[in-house]
Amino acid sequence: MNLSPRILSLTNKRAELRRLAAWVDEFATTLDLREPMRGELQVALEEVASNVIKHGFRDGATHTFTVALSADADCVTAVVTDDAPAFDPLARAEVDIALPLEARPIGGLGIHLVRHLMDDVAYERRGARNVLTLRRRRGSTAPVAEM
């Protein structure tokens, strides 16, 4: 089943994450997406959106950013676009998940989850915008090494 892009506008407020989750859920239902993909998409999008909300804008003003979701026979694609200062979340070093609990930084896990839950994640600075594109192949489950 193909779905042409649907776009949700969000403001940089934490409460918006609730609206995002409801919207993604509706998209997943329309597409008849099953677990584990459904939850994986939810997690990846919450991580990306909460990064934009918490860290994207430093001026204390209200900003709008968008999440677009589309699907074709092979792939579900999500594109998150904001006009915050240039920031590539993928440039951050991988978190060391082998560290013992006491030494484990409590942040940094979000983008790690995004990288590993999606098949492809790409960042691009387009003019004054940050564009993060997430792709997840339908029907595949990336193998996870026991960690």
Binding site: E35, G39, E46, I97, L109, L113, V144, A145, M147
Partner: protein, 108 residues
């Protein structure tokens, strides 16, 4: 997130229903953190759909607090997709995760 609290012997059991996302983990944090003070706590994940980094953050704070009080925190009843989130996060071995909580809890 719907959180149902019960007591079995010395164990406090929280049955979670919903998602451990930003919203859900704030709700869990308010209930869980006051409980992890040394007495054994079990979290029943059978009603949980997914866990985000906000959820892991809450669970790690609870585990650190419980470990500091020499208490036990056990997680159980996870679906395969939820278990997979723990493995991807590298937390599958950090938390004590069991298949069946009832045997652990009823053993004392």
């Amino acid at each position: 997130m719907e959180i149902t609290q019960s007591q079995t012997g010395s164990w406090v059991v929280l049955a979670l229903a919903g998602n451990l996302d930003t919203t859900g983990s704030e709700e869990l944090e308010a209930v869980l953190l006051p409980l992890v003070n040394g007495s054994p706590v079990a979290l029943d994940f059978s009603g949980v759909g997914y866990v985000t980094s906000a959820g892991f953050r809450t669970l790690m704070i609870a585990l650190k607090q419980q470990t500091a009080s020499q208490g036990t925190l056990v997680l159980g009843g996870m679906s395969a997709p939820v278990r997979r989130f723990f493995d991807i996060a590298g937390l599958g071995r950090v938390f004590k995760i069991v298949d069946d909580l009832t045997t652990v809890v009823s053993a004392g």
